[in-house]
Symmetry: C2
Subunit: 339 residues, 2 copies
Amino acid sequence: MIDPNLHFDSVTDTDRLDLDMALHLTSEEIRRNLTGAPYVIRNLTRHLAKAGGKNIRARALLACSAGSDGKTDRRAVLTASAIELLHLATLVHDDIIDNAVLRRGIDTLHKKFGEKNAVLCGDFLFCLAFQLVGRIKPPEERNPLPENLLPAYMTEICLGALREIRNNHNYKLSERAYFGIISGKTAALFEATFYAGFLLSGEPEDNKGGYIDLGKCMGIVFQLSDDCFDYEATKKTMKKPVLSDFSQGVVTLPLIYAIKKDPSLLERIESGISPQDIKQAVRAAGGLAYTHLKIDRYHKKALKIIHSLTVPEEKKVRLINLLDMAAGNMLRTSGSALS
Amino acid sequence: MIDPNLHFDSVTDTDRLDLDMALHLTSEEIRRNLTGAPYVIRNLTRHLAKAGGKNIRARALLACSAGSDGKTDRRAVLTASAIELLHLATLVHDDIIDNAVLRRGIDTLHKKFGEKNAVLCGDFLFCLAFQLVGRIKPPEERNPLPENLLPAYMTEICLGALREIRNNHNYKLSERAYFGIISGKTAALFEATFYAGFLLSGEPEDNKGGYIDLGKCMGIVFQLSDDCFDYEATKKTMKKPVLSDFSQGVVTLPLIYAIKKDPSLLERIESGISPQDIKQAVRAAGGLAYTHLKIDRYHKKALKIIHSLTVPEEKKVRLINLLDMAAGNMLRTSGSALS
């Protein structure tokens, strides 16, 4: 049982933390940063704090950072918090760009507080995240440190988002170009998360490539599952509008495949197809089945990587659980928010 | 004479660079990052590269970083480049927020490429800057490193910008609140610049407070001079629209003082005063004279700090030159762009 009053600052750098405790401290750290932000921005960050995410990136970082004792430390908690705040910053800016109205079940920031405030709040969260990782004391000579690698991955994420908006309403987007987009937009932060977790784990250099590849695979599994969910979900199970990708002109794999198989769909889209009809058409043309096949392929690849890592059995189990979470097998069925 | 083909990467960490060479390499590094950005963003960053700034923050960082030999090194060039890119990122987002159309004599990014692209380009520049400082190898045990302190100052800048937009069109803004805004909006990055420069200089800890205070003073001198310039300049001397602050609802010291002395001005503003009339009214009520008095006070304070530093005479002269540049005595008269 975790003491609910346990405060992150009461933990020292050398204390070993079990993973549940570390996750609790990470949520606390994120919450504390959001609810205790400076006065001028507090009403915005408190609004963000209302919506809980499932913190899959934080869970991944902590799981990867575990040492041979199955435990982690304060540096991993800081890095995990920073990664979730970075992710939150990108969501705030993405919602401006997509003009989305609902996120994690509540109004988006720019809808509630206006665009100017939302741009700056995103910037604030970016800086806050880099500030958090800056507090990490390097424990050994290992290079690079998480704070050195995060910005590089973050630029990849910006570029992925740019590629996405360039291809807004581009219904002729190729599958290859689509994978280029999601490699940046989603997989880059997963890759950074797994890489940073590895750096904190103290594991031998031989594992490095495995963690990086695993992060990328898991990011792709996560994104493809999210893409399917957009065509499969009902408003009840999803805390954001159903078909939000499609209605915002974001072209994803189920649609790309469906158009390829049934080119007449293109005309129907251009003349304004109904949400119900596009969902049915994508399913009928095999868009969902094809995407699930791809998910399965990356899932298998990820499993293979996990088994190849030189880590204790217990760690492998945790990584497999994460993979299932990314594929939506665990939390989505319980109706939790996507993010 | 600087070899124009000299490339930054040909310099090693331990090479000592004279300050002119370091400034040349900094400009090169910034240019290279902007013109050689990844394909998807290159047309945006190349547009930004067209407009030259006067790089006052880079000059300040390099000047502060000079050692007892009057020279600096590669780490300072990287930090100076990062600070200018951070500044550029804030300008890109500020222009979206202010809906400005002209900056440094050319179209603003969001005007030319749209808001979505501009938000992401700003984010990209933020990350790029943090990536550059992440390349710095810590030379000694001194803590914090520039990459640790920059994010903290950047959050101050976001908060200052938020305070500014909250007070848009607030013609009852107090002088005190105004100084609170510019401390974040402008002075924080100057403070960070001087602090980082000091850290790289290897000078004794006794100088630290002096550099930090000097940065803050110089930032205030720079901002107040900019505020006056908005009411004094003609379109010919300024590469952005004259009275852009006033027309965007940004309330600055000359106006605050003028309204305090002549409360009837408030009514005239609310009923839509002409640009010519507001310029004349602010001057007539002593708004410009009062602001120049304040500039003079901070200028004197800065001079006093410079003289108190334990540094070679040559370094003091360089810092005084920077102060003059901040006050607009050097570059503005030659018609160079404000930034």
